[in-house]
């Protein structure tokens, strides 16, 4: 063997990641790794695990440090140059409020979940990959908080994000998603977050949406977004390796994995409805519609992926066709919910202006003019007449996804979709067949869901009236909630704008 020849990447990775673990002797391995068998997954050979990134710990630290240096240079430059005054419109800040309250806390949950998987999976290669991802996820939370903290100096609805995340009605949608994943076994967690969320769906959040941040002048958010996404590429690879590894290890794993793929695809689809609304309604300057993003990142990319996984017998997720059909409706239906409940939301809402309506008509030729434009025009007219529409009844929630029951029947956008089932003498309600199936497979788990509306009615959320509940949310009423028009955010934005015009003249 030559003493001078440099090792290749494959060999370096082998030497630095293998043979570092050992068979325990003081305690049986099953007691050291107590959680990796109860889910029914069978692993014959953990050493068959392949990490195609072949990233060793020394390279990991080097690359991550470089990413951080670049990101913080941008964050500093943004703050020094008062970048907040250069965004496209004051409305834009609302996407950051929803992002920080609804998504950043889930980065933290992902951090904890991968730390658990990085401890409890028996294979050393898998543990290393999960541990790196755990550190990445913590980095994502930190960089998001640091970036958005600058906006917190100027805009409302940001400062109470961890408190709100645990309490506010719509934030129970992402919270319950991650609570579900984190209370599952380590293999289901890896499929839920590693595969279904990271591989199938994360592109929809981070690519077109972050490109949207760039387009709207938010230099610091696009930078944390793409910095996080560069880790995501590694996470996606982990997700796809997990699924291939499980399917190659034993044929009995296939039905279990298929069930998890079906479940987490549908849960992810429901969760991403919030992103659909951010893209179609909340970005003042738009990059692409939700429908276009869905076609690129699910229909095209997901199609190629499942064609590939077909060789293991894995099929497209159940109800993928319904989700694709819903891509023409979901952003509009969600925006309608938030518009009606703007008094209870910690970000601002508005009716689209004429130019925005035309963009929606162009992007949604099959649905917008027929089903949604007339409603927006009616609500805009009511606003003008001083009769702005608020829904003062608390909505019924889906037991599984926890979203208000506002979605429509597949194939009939004029009828609300209701499903129900009985469990131990109680009736449970669902927004869709997808959510009902998930409940019926694990009724003991989902019958215990913490549903915000039920909890309000049971007196667990600060009191019996809306003001009591908003106080319990730590909501600054009149600043955090209600329409953008008339808000302190709008007043500040208009002042900045007037100052710019005054100085230019």
């Amino acid at each position: 063997m030559s003493g001078t020849k440099k090792l290749g990447l494959r060999q370096r990775y082998e030497y630095l990641t293998r043979g570092l673990d050992w068979e325990t002797s003081y305690q049986p391995m099953d007691k050291v790794f107590p959680y990796d068998s109860f889910e029914g997954i069978k692993i014959k050979d953990w050493s068959a695990w392949e990490d195609p990134f072949r990233l060793t710990m020394d390279s990991y630290w080097k690359f991550q440090a470089e990413k951080e240096r670049k990101l913080y240079a941008v964050i500093d430059a943004f703050a020094q140059n008062n970048g907040q005054t250069g965004i496209s419109d004051g409305r834009y800040a609302n996407v950051l409020k929803l992002f920080l309250t609804g998504i950043s806390p889930e980065e933290y949950q992902a951090h904890r979940g991968f730390a658990f998987a990085g401890r409890h999976l028996r294979g050393a290669g898998t543990r290393v990959a999960a541990q790196m991802q755990s550190i990445d996820e913590l980095r994502h939370l930190q960089t998001q908080v640091h970036t958005i903290s600058h906006y917190n100096k100027y805009f409302d609805g940001i400062g109470e994000f961890p408190h709100m995340h645990d309490r506010v009605w719509y934030l129970s949608v992402p919270k319950s998603f991650f609570d579900d994943a984190r209370s599952a076994g380590p293999f289901e967690f890896m499929i839920a977050i590693g595969f279904a969320f990271e591989y199938l769906l994360t592109n929809l959040l981070f690519v077109p949406f972050m490109s949207g941040a760039a387009y709207n002048g938010d230099m610091s958010t696009v930078t944390f977004g793409f910095s996080a996404q560069s880790d995501e590429s590694r996470h996606m690879t982990l997700g796809i390796e997990v699924i291939k590894f499980l399917l190659e290890q034993h044929p009995d794993n296939l039905p279990i994995v298929q069930k998890w793929v079906d479940k987490w695809f549908w849960r992810g689809h429901r969760l991403l409805g919030l992103v659909a609304m951010m893209m179609d309604y909340m970005l003042p300057k738009k990059v692409m519609s939700w429908k276009e993003a869905w076609d690129i990142y699910f229909v095209e990319a997901g199609g190629a992926l499942f064609q590939d996984l077909g060789r293991y017998g894995l099929k497209m997720p159940k109800y993928a066709d319904i989700a694709t059909a819903e891509a023409e409706h979901i952003s509009h239906q969600n925006w309608a919910v938030f518009y009606q409940y703007t008094h209870a939301a910690a970000f601002h809402t508005w009716m689209p202006d004429a130019e925005h309506l035309d963009w929606l008509s162009e992007k949604y030729p099959n649905t917008f003019d027929k089903y949604y434009r007339p409603r927006w025009e009616m609500w805009a007219k009511m606003e003008k007449e001083g009769k702005r529409f608020y829904n003062n009844a608390l909505p019924q929630l889906c037991q599984t996804c926890q979203i208000p029951m506002a979605y429509t029947e597949p194939g009939n956008p004029t009828e609300i979709c209701f499903r129900s089932t009985q469990y131990k003498g109680e009736t449970y309600h669902f927004c869709s067949d997808g959510c009902k199936d998930i409940f019926c497979d694990e009724p003991e788990k989902f019958s215990q869901a913490w549903l915000p509306v039920h909890q309000i009615f049971q007196g667990n959320c600060g009191g019996a009236t809306v003001p009591d509940v908003l106080r319990w949310y730590n909501m600054n009423v009149g600043a955090d909630n209600m329409d953008y028009v008339g808000s302190p955010d709008e007043k500040l934005w208009n002042e900045w704008h007037a100052e710019k015009l005054r100085q230019a003249s």
């Binding site: 195609p52 690359f63 592109n203 949207g212 996404q229 692409m288 199609g303 190629a304 064609q307 060789r311």
Partner: protein, 90 residues
Amino acid sequence: MAQIASITLVHTDEARPIIEAIMADNPGVRVLNMPGAVKLDCDGTITVKRASVEERIGRSWDPQEIQLVLVSMAGNLDEDDDHFTLSWRH
């Protein structure tokens, strides 16, 4: 349906030579320009060659450095000392 192998990179000065190398080495590559990012698609397989990038930047380049500018990808990854390849072929 054609299986599309894809790489998305940030649109920065650092990524530009990599984007150029991909366009030179992958005939038929399709380019989707988004604000701040570029998505490059090829049927079946797409590759980044170390030599092509080094030729453009005039220094040695480790394919793992792509992680500094990578936004997303689709396909099975094969990474080695001389290339970074995404492919649906087996």
